[in-house]
């Protein structure tokens, strides 16, 4: 019901234009002995313009057709018929269409630009917020070390560890930003090659500190043969999934990373315990720049998971988030399209 209403609301402008057309026709009809044919024609272009500024070609053409029909039937001789005596009028009708189309094109451009601006704005917001958070850690820690020459080694080490982690986060965000523009390019080509998931996990783990790996992570990998995919992107996928799990996981709980070999596809599962999450929101978490409102203090952009979705889609796979046992389970299924043949 709500859907129908929204759809109806979206196309309200057509109804408005129709009402305007009726009113205009009515007014012109009343004053038709005082008005020249040219005035009447010009008035009839108004509903076309009203529809055209919404940037929908079909709606514009439909309105042009109606408007021309009214004009022809009521005012162009022979009156009250759809015939036309003078061919010149046909040209005028064509001009109705051309005006409508030009305005529609302009409107379309404008709408696209507005959408791009919105995207750019949220991107800027993310960059400023997510770069600022680690940057303030770095800045603060360095100032503390510089102004307290006699900090004990243990404290100093812990501050340095913070700086290290913060700079890794910044590096990852920059990679993600670059990837996000690269992946949203329609002509993006995968660099397909034989991938070893164990190798990829090894590379991925280097992106995190030793402490995170050893204390928090449980890894289980089935016996796998090589997988045909984009090595760099698959590594980026696992980095982002793990990064997300580390960020939102409750302290003192473990994160499980599992790779299963199911005959026709590979299944990657990442589970972390977390505070209560809204099940309804789960399906949105892979949308660009979405994040849970109540976790705003945890730095992270939402870009990460959106990129995961793009990477999985490019491999013709599926990604979903499931609420399970006081936590969140992210499942990725990647179809096996090619098997390695080594004699």
């Amino acid at each position: 019901m709500k859907r129908v209403f929204i759809k109806y609301k979206e196309h309200m402008y057509i109804l408005k234009a129709l009402i305007i057309l009726v009113i205009i026709t009515g007014i012109s009809h009343i004053f038709k002995f005082y008005l020249d044919i040219i005035n009447i024609a010009l008035i009839h272009i108004i509903p076309v313009v009203v529809v055209a500024i919404h940037g929908n070609i079909k709606a514009t053409l439909f309105m042009t057709f109606l408007s021309v029909l009214c004009l022809n039937f009521l005012y162009i001789p022979p009156l009250y018929s759809f015939n036309v005596n003078n061919e010149l009028y046909l040209w005028s009708f064509l001009i109705f269409g051309i005006v409508g189309l030009i305005i529609t094109m302009q409107a379309k451009n404008l709408i696209r630009q507005t959408k791009q601006n919105q995207l750019r704005e949220s991107l800027l917001h993310i960059i400023s917020h997510d770069l600022r958070t680690p940057l303030s850690t770095i800045h603060g820690s360095i100032n503390l070390i510089l102004s307290n020459k006699n900090l004990n080694t243990k404290k100093q080490d812990s501050l340095l560890e913070d700086i290290n982690y913060a700079s890794l986060r910044m590096k990852r965000l920059i990679t993600n930003l670059l990837d996000s523009t690269r992946l949203s390019n329609e002509n993006f080509d995968l660099k397909l090659e034989w991938c070893d998931f164990e190798d990829i996990i090894g590379v991925t783990l280097n992106e995190f500190s030793q402490k995170q790996n050893d204390e928090k992570l449980n890894i289980k990998i089935d016996e796998l043969s090589l997988f045909w995919g984009d090595n760099t992107l698959l590594a980026q996928l696992i980095v982002n999934l793990l990064d997300n799990a580390f960020k939102y996981s409750k302290s003192d709980t473990k994160i499980d990373l599992e790779i299963e070999n199911l005959n026709n596809f590979i299944k990657i599962k990442i589970f972390n315990e977390t505070e209560f999450i809204d099940k309804k929101k789960l399906k949105n978490i892979f949308d660009k720049f979405y994040r849970f409102e109540d976790t705003n203090d945890i730095s992270g952009s939402g870009i990460g998971l959106a990129i995961c979705k793009s990477i999985v889609k490019l491999h013709n796979g599926e990604i979903k988030a499931i609420a399970k046992d006081r936590g969140i389970l992210i499942e990725v299924e990647l179809p096996i399209v090619k098997r390695v043949n080594i004699e």
Partner: protein
């Protein structure tokens, strides 16, 4: 005697960071900002190791590497910005031994420098045996031992591990390894390399997702770690 490192880097702040680091860690150094001065300097000072930035104001660092390779076996470490793996591979294939990407950690750079210096000073061998941490390669008997256990290796696994042990602490491109171990015509057969690295790791590493010996250099190749 102190080792002499020659730096070729046009970015002033990176150059300064390198110079301060080397002063602090007891290396001698000479530096220049372009290729032309670098070559004259190289010929007159005879350094022990080169650090080369790939993008130089008077041309490509790769050409400089090729030029040096014609006259010397000196270890060359390439310094480069992220996201240009193709350039890295070209530089390694042109004769560079190792690479490090900006932003780099000073510790990692020092580790690479020490490893490369060690390798170049220790090429002489007497009994045809090579030791790398817990691994021991005996070329005469074609055996490789992990601690005291003889490893059960297939012929290709043996050739691959031998190639790694003979080229330690150096970034080896996929192409180089495939060509040297499998032979010409196999340069692009990545599935062989991936498969055999995977099985080798299971035989020599304690934890194959946290390898200690065969380290992956994403998109570039592998390096074999030896302390």
């Amino acid at each position: 005697m102190k080792n002499l490192i020659q730096i070729i880097e046009d970015d002033k702040s990176v150059k300064k960071l390198l110079e301060i680091t080397f002063k602090e860690f007891d290396f001698d150094f000479i530096s220049s900002e372009n290729k032309k001065n670098a070559l004259t300097m190289f010929l007159s000072h005879n350094p022990d190791l080169l650090i080369v930035d790939l993008g130089l104001p008077d041309g490509d660092g790769k050409d400089f590497i090729k030029q040096i390779r014609e006259i010397s076996k000196i270890p060359i470490i390439v310094l480069t910005a992220r996201h240009d793996e193709k350039e890295i591979i070209l530089a390694l294939d042109a004769g560079a031994d190792d690479y490090i990407t900006k932003p780099f950690s000073v510790n990692e750079l020092l580790a690479r420098i020490r490893a490369n210096l060690r390798r170049s000073s220790n090429t002489v061998d007497i009994n045809n045996t090579f030791i790398c941490d817990e691994l021991k390669l005996d070329i005469n008997s074609r055996d490789i031992f992990l601690n005291t256990d003889k490893l059960k290796l297939t012929p290709i696994e043996y050739e691959l591990l031998k190639y790694f042990i003979l080229h330690p602490n150096k970034t080896l491109t996929h192409k180089q390894i495939l060509q040297e171990v499998w032979g010409t015509g196999y340069q692009n057969e990545m599935q062989y390399l991936r498969t055999y690295v995977n099985t080798l790791r299971k035989k020599i590493e304690k934890n194959s997702t946290r390898p200690k010996y065969i380290i992956t250099e994403p998109s570039v190749g592998y390096r074999f770690n030896c302390n």
